[in-house]
């Protein structure tokens, strides 16, 4: 290994198998400085712009947001937020055509810029003094995902615990037309290097290799100047060849190590970041600028001003093209990404996202659409071109046959979909498309197999549960049956005897029972009579009379001492009140001469009325007392209130029942 490190330090370069040399066409854009695109009327910000899961949307229609404000919340490690590229109004959160080859609608935030471009509060960090978790948190919160194209969340990649031999910064940019990273290196080399410093702090690599293709002399010079102070940063100028910018290919070129099939670069001690990513990290940490804009190469012969532009994330492609003098031809195609790995856009309202590095609007002559596919002639040109040393024609064969076992055997999943095989194919077979379909099928099958496994487990769990329930039920039945049988077997004669005894006891009780019923009935009848009597005796205004009556009756009531006490208290209170009113009326009568005419008359009338009432009540009272005493003589307490009477009756009944019960026992 030491030997290899020395070799790397000695600037030795290696090569990867295959590869092609398509015309690069970068000169059109790489020499121009980066232009700043004016804000579009509407920005469409998809909630998910990376590999992983979308964050939870934080805004709703009608909200006002500031530039750099988070629009979604990263609620899991696989999600990163999106931010408002400028200040403005949220018009909607709705489905919008996604910047994906499928063009399926995805949840998207629509923002109308207010033109003020007002920033939220920013908190720049000093990366030398803050802790690693703090840095990682900042990277995640700034929504940084790999900007080379894959869009893998950067905070995950930079939180690797394994020992990192070599940090590789990818400035190769091998696909034709694209010069976004080239332009960024020319203009922002110092910031990029600061981003690399932060990555070094996070990953602590032994050496840092910065790979740049030899067709970018200005960028190489700028980066060399920026890295002068750092002696473990090595800038490696590699020969131009497509696809040397592929992760595994660049590792092979720079270190002569091959990433094993199905493994990640970290398994051999390598981590790779894109130039754009390290720039975004520096901005996020040092200036607290989240990932809200990126450099996009806008190229193609239908544009009068092909150039690199600094584009706010969410800008529709149409705005970008119009700013570059787009003159569409008939059957115009617009491609997102490069000519090798990009995809044709279904319409131009698709927004630029974090992983968009190029928008290509070629003329028909420049990039003719695919012609009729012909049969494979087994020329093996594809196998020679394949940078992953696969056998493209075998893969094509098995893709067509949908033979997933064979495809796996031929390592379909090591295909990086670079398109070199399709580029060299004389029969113009779109090989990569076949592989993509096969890969999607294979993934689907894996998903289905997983689902089938789950379903089986659940089905079996359910079956077991039902079986257990059935058994339990049966057991319970058996137990009950047993108990019953045991009872019958053990004491059948006893049971008969018991039953007989019960019947006898009942017969003996019967007469007393009947007597109590009779007595009860008698009592109820008398109660009703007494009540009737009380009602007829009661004069129209029995206000004054009733308390006295109740007083009389309650005084003799033996039933419930507490109830009696309450009734007595009420009666006393009423009597007191009456007495008071009587005295006041007396006073009123005596003081009438002093009073003025009208109130005097009224008062006199009132006094007379009261006096009459009192007199009446007094006359009625003895009657009442007599009736209540008569009720008392029938052995049952006799309250005047019918409700009370009912309660008393119930109590009596209960008592009788109790008595009877004890007798039966």
């Amino acid at each position: 290994m030491q030997n290899l490190l020395e070799q790397i330090q000695a600037a030795q370069l290696w090569d990867f198998p295959g590869g092609i040399h398509p015309p690069t066409r970068k000169a059109l854009t790489s020499k121009k400085s980066i232009a700043k695109l004016a804000l579009a009327d509407r920005l469409y910000i998809p909630l998910r712009q990376h590999i992983g899961v979308a964050g939870q949307c934080l805004v709703k229609k009608g909200d006002f947001v500031l530039k750099g404000q988070a629009l979604s919340l990263a609620d899991s490690s696989m999600s990163i937020p999106v931010h408002a590229p400028t200040s403005g109004l949220i018009l909607a959160v709705e489905d919008h055509t996604s910047p994906h080859p499928s063009a399926l609608p995805e949840p998207t935030i629509v923002l109308e810029p207010d033109g003020l471009d007002e920033w939220r509060e920013r908190e720049p960090l000093d990366h030398l003094t803050c802790s690693l978790p703090q840095l990682l948190e900042r990277i995640q919160e700034s929504g940084i995902a790999g900007m080379g194209g894959a869009g893998f969340p950067t905070h995950l990649k930079s939180a690797i615990k394994q020992e990192v031999e070599c940090l590789i910064i990818n400035g190769v940019e091998c696909e034709p037309y694209i010069s976004a990273d080239d332009a960024l290196m020319q203009e922002e080399a110092t910031t990029i290097v600061k981003g690399i410093d932060i990555l070094c702090q996070l990953l602590n690599p032994k050496i840092v290799l910065i790979g740049i293709e030899d067709d970018k002399p200005d960028a190489i010079a700028a980066m060399q100047a920026a890295c002068k102070q750092r002696d473990h940063y090595f800038i490696r100028v590699i020969p131009t060849k497509y696809p040397s910018g592929g992760e595994k290919q660049l590792i092979q070129v720079l270190t002569n190590k091959e990433v094993p099939a199905g493994r990640r670069p970290i398994d051999i001690g390598m981590v790779m970041f894109n130039i754009g990513t390290s720039f975004a990290i520096a901005q996020a940490v040092l200036d607290d600028i989240p990932l809200i804009s990126r450099i996009v190469t806008v190229a193609g012969d239908t544009l009068t001003q092909a150039q690199n532009m600094l584009v706010p994330i969410g800008t529709p492609v149409s705005a970008l093209l119009n700013a570059c003098g787009f003159q569409p031809q008939a059957q115009q195609r617009v491609i997102m990404g490069g000519p090798m790995m990009g995809f044709t856009l279904p319409d131009l309202s698709v927004p630029v996202i974090k992983t968009t590095n190029c928008i290509l609007a070629p003329t028909y002559q420049e990039l003719p659409p695919a012609r009729q596919e012909m049969d494979c002639i087994r020329c093996t040109a594809c196998a020679d071109a394949c940078p992953a040393s696969l056998l493209p024609q075998q893969l094509l064969w098995y893709s067509k046959a949908k033979d997933s076992a064979k495809l796996e055997e031929y390592n379909l999943f090591d295909c990086i979909e670079c398109g070199a095989c399709a580029y060299v194919c004389p029969s113009e077979i779109p090989l990569v498309q076949y592989y993509r379909v096969a890969k999607a099928d294979s993934r689907q099958q894996q998903r289905e197999a997983l689902q089938a496994e789950q379903a089986k487990a659940r089905f079996e769990a359910r079956k077991a549960r039902l079986e257990a329930e059935k058994q339990e039920r049966q057991q319970r039945h058996e137990q009950l049956a047993e108990e019953r049988a045991a009872k019958q077997a053990s004491g059948s004669s006893d049971a008969v005897a018991e039953a007989l005894a019960r019947v006898k006891a009942k017969q003996q009780d019967a007469p007393t029972d009947r007597e109590t019923i009779k007595a009860e009935r008698e009592r109820l009848k008398q109660q009703a009579r007494a009540k009737q009597a009380a009602q007829t005796d009661m004069p129209p205004d029995g206000e004054a009379k009733s308390p006295i009556a109740s007083e009389v009756s309650t005084a003799k009531e033996p039933a419930d001492p507490r109830k009696a006490a309450i009734a007595a208290a009420i009666a006393r209170a009423k009597a007191k009140k009456d007495a008071q009113s009587a005295t006041t009326s007396d006073e009123v009568v005596s003081s009438t001469p002093a009073e003025p005419a009208d109130p005097r008359k009224a008062a006199i009338a009132a006094a007379i009325a009261r006096a009459k009432a009192k007199k009446d009540a007094q006359a009625a009272a003895p009657d009442e007392a007599v009736s209540s005493t008569s009720a008392e003589q029938t052995e049952t307490p006799e309250p005047t209130d019918p409700r009370k009477a009912a309660i008393a009756a119930a109590i009596a009944r209960a008592k009788a029942k109790k008595q009877k019960d004890t007798e039966t026992k």
Partner: protein
């Protein structure tokens, strides 16, 4: 004498090796995967009963006993091909009476649900949650799209809906991209 010694020696060796082999056959026994298990693994485990058997395993047992391999619509051609390989028979197209259908999941129109729990009892994979007189709902991730809950529903509030396509499950079916080529102005 020599003969006896030789016989004894060989006999002893035979016993020792026999003991070792006997021990090894117990200690290092390979759980053989019976045919039914293998067939069951290929079947899609929707437990839908479209094959005429009450679940995937009974059908696997039937195949092992010589039933046709083309009775499983959810498995489709892929499953038939795998079964053909396993059983050493020719792959046949799906039974004419059955058609491979798009994968669907059950969806309960929740405001119409009366909470009768009949669908819960019908679901072979316990993918419906709910309780008596409470609204029920389907756990979409667990639903196998077997259709068995649709018939028992007394108010017909269960629909079988196709799974919505997402960019993750999209299959690069390039003919289907609604490409609207930009025209010249």
């Amino acid at each position: 004498m020599m003969v006896i010694i030789a016989l004894l020696a060989l006999g002893a060796l035979a016993l020792i090796f026999g003991a070792i082999l006997g021990y090894a056959s117990i200690r290092f026994r390979v759980e053989s995967d019976p045919l039914v298990e293998q067939i069951d693994d290929i079947l899609p485990q929707t437990q839908c009963g479209q094959c005429g058997y009450p679940g995937c395993r009974p059908y696997a047992e039937a195949i092992a006993n010589g039933d046709a391999i083309n009775k499983c619509p959810p498995g489709g051609d892929t499953a038939i091909r795998k079964l053909a390989d396993l059983m050493g028979v020719e792959a046949k197209p799906l039974d004419a009476a059955q058609q491979e259908s798009e994968k669907k999941v059950a969806y309960i129109r929740e405001d119409e649900c009366i909470g009768c729990t009949k669908c819960i009892q019908a679901c072979p994979v316990d993918a419906i949650v709910g309780a008596t007189r409470q609204m029920h709902t389907v756990i979409v991730d667990e639903c196998t799209g077997c259709d068995l809950c649709v018939d028992p529903c007394p108010v017909d509030c269960i629909d079988m809906l196709p799974i919505p396509e997402t960019p993750e499950r999209w299959k690069w079916d390039l003919d289907r991209i609604p490409v609207r080529v930009v025209g010249a102005d």
